[in-house]
């Protein structure tokens, strides 16, 4: 139900994405792994046009197909209204309370009634365990709490897919757990997710489809079993070996 074809992106002379094809089915939890600079974040941002690809098409659902050569403003808006994103730096609206952060999209872009939006937001805050923070501003929350609000904000929109851009990379180690636990819970509910992450164990556990990217290409894709446990490509093996390397020093 999400189909990406030949996504190509160049920053000045640097080709970041060299034509990527990917299909995501409804209910899929897809993780994208790969070394830094492999283009995985750029690719994810192309999916909701935060980054405009130079070539390629993006199809979401049956009807909406966007050609990167001539995207209409309305199509991009529609695409964004069918997707949601969780950011590495949370990007909560700094001038809005926790509750308003969640209701904002519902009221402004989905034109829901305020009372209905508040109801949705409150139930989601309960789900992410932050009901008592509803009237606080983001700056008074810890990183983990902010990211949980970010996830609640994305869930509230009831999108076709939620895009996660390294959602735990900016967190203190002790807060990574709370966010990953929440994401596992969401994954179990059958929400379509595309996750860029460095947490290989998490990817193995939670996803049904793993993509290994390097140098703007998809090197290998398949089930976690295939890609993470039994990779066939030398480059994938090398990448995973480095991550799993035994510590060099034991104190």
């Amino acid at each position: 139900m999400i189909k990406l074809n030949g996504i190509y992106k160049k920053f000045k002379d640097h080709e970041v994405l060299k034509g990527i094809d990917l299909k995501v089915k409804k209910g899929d939890v897809l993780t994208i792994i790969g070394p830094s600079g492999s283009g995985k974040t750029t690719f994810l941002r192309c999916i909701n046009f935060l980054e405009k690809p130079d070539h390629g098409t993006i199809q979401i659902g049956e009807k909406l197909v966007i050609d990167a050569h001539k995207p209409s403003k309305r199509d991009i808006l529609q695409l964004r209204r069918q997707t949601a994103m969780v950011f590495q730096n949370y990007n909560l609206f700094q001038n809005k309370t926790v509750l308003e952060n969640i209701t904002e999209g519902l009221i402004v872009s989905q034109k829901k009634k305020k009372s209905e939006a508040i109801q949705i937001a409150e139930s989601l805050l309960k789900k992410v365990g932050l009901s008592e923070k509803r009237d606080e501003f983001p700056s008074s929350l810890s990183g983990g709490q902010q990211q949980r609000v970010g996830i609640a904000r994305a869930l509230a929109l009831n999108p076709d897919v939620i895009l996660f851009d390294e959602p735990t990379s900016a967190l203190d180690p002790e807060m990574v757990g709370e966010v990953l636990t929440l994401m596992k819970e969401i994954a179990r509910e059958g929400i379509t997710m595309i996750i860029v992450t460095h947490e290989i164990d998490f990817a193995r556990e939670v996803s049904n489809h793993v993509v290994f990217m390097e140098g703007g290409h998809i090197v290998e894709e398949g089930t976690p079993e295939e890609v993470i446990l039994h990779p066939t490509k030398e480059r994938t093996k090398q990448f995973l070996r480095r991550l799993n390397k035994e510590p060099e020093f034991v104190i």
Binding site: L50, L77, N89, S139
Partner: protein
């Protein structure tokens, strides 16, 4: 001639006070019109709108690089000439004599405020993380909705201390408006002083009035800064 005639100063104090509403209205009107124009100009620079961006750069540089007094004169003598030319070319009958000096003041001070607020707003918007707008887009808002609901509120808060500076500077620079025959604090003081050569007395009165106005404005902006943007204060509380 006596030394400082305090009696004279006190006696004429109320008369000079009559200029205060004029001074305040020039400053208030121009900060409002100037901010609206300035916001528009700032956006042309933030979004790098071709052509308009360059125009903004030239405009800001021109206004900031020429003395206010000269700008006042150029308008005061230029606009009637321009109307003459328009009348001749299009056979209209505009009459420059009907333009009150206040209009010249409003125009020039607004243009002036616009140039300075452009820079303030531009800096304020640039200091807001790009992620804020990306988040707006990600929840399906249009750029304009994002600007209005998320970027502008943060921008105003960020710009507030600098806006206070501009406003106080405007108040003080209205003292030049007497050059285009606006009867404000400075003009009144001068006229009274002229009658008996009590220049020191009357300029002292003007000084005190300007200072009181600016003092009150400083207090107002101090209050605004404390009460706008509660979320930032909380950051500090957490950091401590």
């Amino acid at each position: 001639m006596t030394v400082f005639n305090i009696q004279f100063a006190i006696e004429h104090f109320p008369e000079v006070l009559k200029g205060v509403p004029i001074t305040l209205s020039i400053a208030a009107v121009s900060i409002i019109i100037g901010s609206v124009i300035g916001l528009g100009l700032a956006l042309t620079r933030v979004y790098k709108v071709p052509f308009l961006q360059q125009l903004t750069i030239v405009y800001v540089s021109f206004i900031r690089g020429t003395p206010l007094l000269v700008q006042l004169y150029v308008f005061f003598y230029g606009v009637p000439e321009l109307l003459d030319w328009v009348n001749k070319t299009f056979t209209t009958t505009w009459n420059a004599d009907n333009i009150s000096p206040m209009w010249y003041a409003f125009m020039v001070y607004s243009m002036n405020a616009a140039a300075y607020t452009t820079e303030i707003f531009r800096a304020a918007i640039n200091s807001i993380a790009v992620g804020q707008m990306e988040a707006c887009h990600s929840v399906g808002m249009t750029t304009w909705q994002g600007l209005r609901r998320v970027i502008f509120p943060q921008m105003f808060e960020m710009a507030l201390p600098n806006m206070g500076n501009i406003f106080i500077n405007l108040i003080k620079s209205t003292s030049l408006a007497f050059a285009v025959k606006v009867v404000e604090i400075m003009a009144i003081s001068k006229m009274i002083a002229n009658q008996g050569y009590n220049f020191l007395e009357m300029y002292s009165v003007a000084t005190i009035i300007y200072w009181i106005i600016c003092l009150l404005l400083e207090l107002l902006f101090y209050y605004l800064e404390k009460n706008v943007g509660k979320h930032r204060r909380k950051t500090a509380a957490v950091a401590n």
